[in-house]
Amino acid sequence: MIGIAAGGPVIPNFGGGSASFACERANRLFCAGWVSRNWDTVLWPALRQHIVLTVIAVAIGFVISTALALVAYRRNWLERPVLIVTSILYTIPSLALFELLQPSFGLSRTTAEIALVSYTLLIMFRNTLTGLREVPPEVRDAATGMGMGPTQSLLRVELPLAAPAIIAGLRIATVTVISLATVAALIDNEGLGVPILTAISNEVFKTELIVAGAMAVALAIGADALLVLAQRLITPWTRAR
């Protein structure tokens, strides 16, 4: 269990150097020295791992949910079962899902990714399907009238028109994964959750908690902003509204 400092100086392992650790010993809110000493060894690697975890999960989730949405767009009966299964996956709290997958896949990145992917499916599936369905029938007719086959119409007319909805789903999925990947540190020892959990077990070392927490928040907001930008570039016509 976690020990709480009872009086006395708190001296967790602050790592190398001969600097004085007055700030760390006092466990002040923010010790800039600690951050600069540990950026290369702790914080930056954690951030990089977090990004890799997120990109892999969102990419796999995107492929699966888009494929499911495209099939459900043509065959309506598929929508219900997919919604039921993905809703249940989405509802299971991350902490529980990570643990439930552990016996089958071990304490590994695979376990983390499977859980993370499962949280992206509902959002991206529903958004993509809704986006495709909201393409006006006249537009589809016009595409057919121009001599496009179903595949051509899908690729050149329907998917581009559904792009804003698809990217909106991608945004929600991405920030969701960034958030849950911090919890994944529990079973897969990487990502920004690692410094957070370390800080907690290190007598609640505040600087590390605040910096790692802020990095996770900044990463999520940054990723969201990046996707908004991507959407503007991909669908310039939506800005005319």
Partner: protein
């Protein structure tokens, strides 16, 4: 899969391990989790609902209401908890604060979108009948907005239940997360048992709220949007693009 059999035996023993000193029972921890989550959702609804309803009623603050929701999605719950622990220390107060911070924005956003989107003609008709602003809000806009408003509350509830268990990782004990955070004493089977309980709890909370939503939805709306229970089960995240 023998571990899963053990996990269910652990649940059957109500969270006790033969030969070990008595642990808090699973029933107790489940109720505690519900209590912590319930307080958080209660406070969040009390704060968020009036604000969202009012903003929607006067059709003002769309930028704030919607962007707050967007930024909220980008807040990783473990990071919010971690930052909270750094500033406030461990304890129920800090956990509840984090829960409320995470739960208020979707409630505001959804309530705003729900009320703002009520057809102007309907509102005009109500005013023409001599209703005051408050009457219009409570007797016309609120009932019509119930489905969307509830979608926000359910999204929040899901977050809160999930975050309550994550709070154990930051050292707050008194929820089902404790067991997951203490594999040394509970072994993998106990951790899995707790994970199953957490997953079941989240699903039950979702189902109960979905049922409450159905009960509160005016009859007229149920006919027109006689939608399947499935899509009402799926947590809706309003995406104001």
């Amino acid at each position: 899969m023998n571990v899963f059999v053990e996990a269910f035996k652990f649940i059957g023993r109500n969270g006790q391990i033969p030969g070990a000193p008595p642990f808090p029972t699973l029933t107790h921890l489940t109720l505690e989790t519900l209590k912590i989550a319930g307080i958080g959702i209660g406070i969040a609804v009390a704060i968020g609902l009036p604000i969202g309803l009012w903003l929607g009623h006067v059709h003002r603050g769309s930028f704030a209401a919607i962007n707050v929701g967007n930024i909220w999605r980008a807040l990783p719950s473990l990071a919010v908890l971690a930052i909270g622990v750094a500033f406030l220390g461990l304890g129920l107060r800090n956990v509840e604060l984090a829960l409320v911070v995470l739960a208020v924005p979707p409630i505001i956003t959804n309530a705003y979108v729900a009320i703002d989107g009520v057809e102007r003609d309907v509102v005009d008709a109500a005013r023409g009948m001599g209703m005051t602003g408050l009457q219009v809000l409570l007797k016309v806009e609120l009932p019509l907005g119930i489905p969307l408003i509830f979608a926000g509350i359910r999204t929040s509830a899901l977050f809160v239940v999930s975050t309550t268990t994550i709070a154990a990782l930051t050292g707050y004990s008194g929820s089902l997360g404790d067991i997951i955070n203490n594999e040394t004493s509970y072994h993998l089977s106990g951790v899995l048992g707790a994970a199953i309980c957490i997953a079941a709890l989240a699903l039950v909370v979702e189902l109960v709220l979905a049922m409450v939503q159905r009960l509160l939805t005016p009859k007229g709306l149920k006919v027109s949007t006689a939608e399947d229970t499935v899509s009402s089960l799926a947590p809706v995240v309003t995406e104001p693009t």
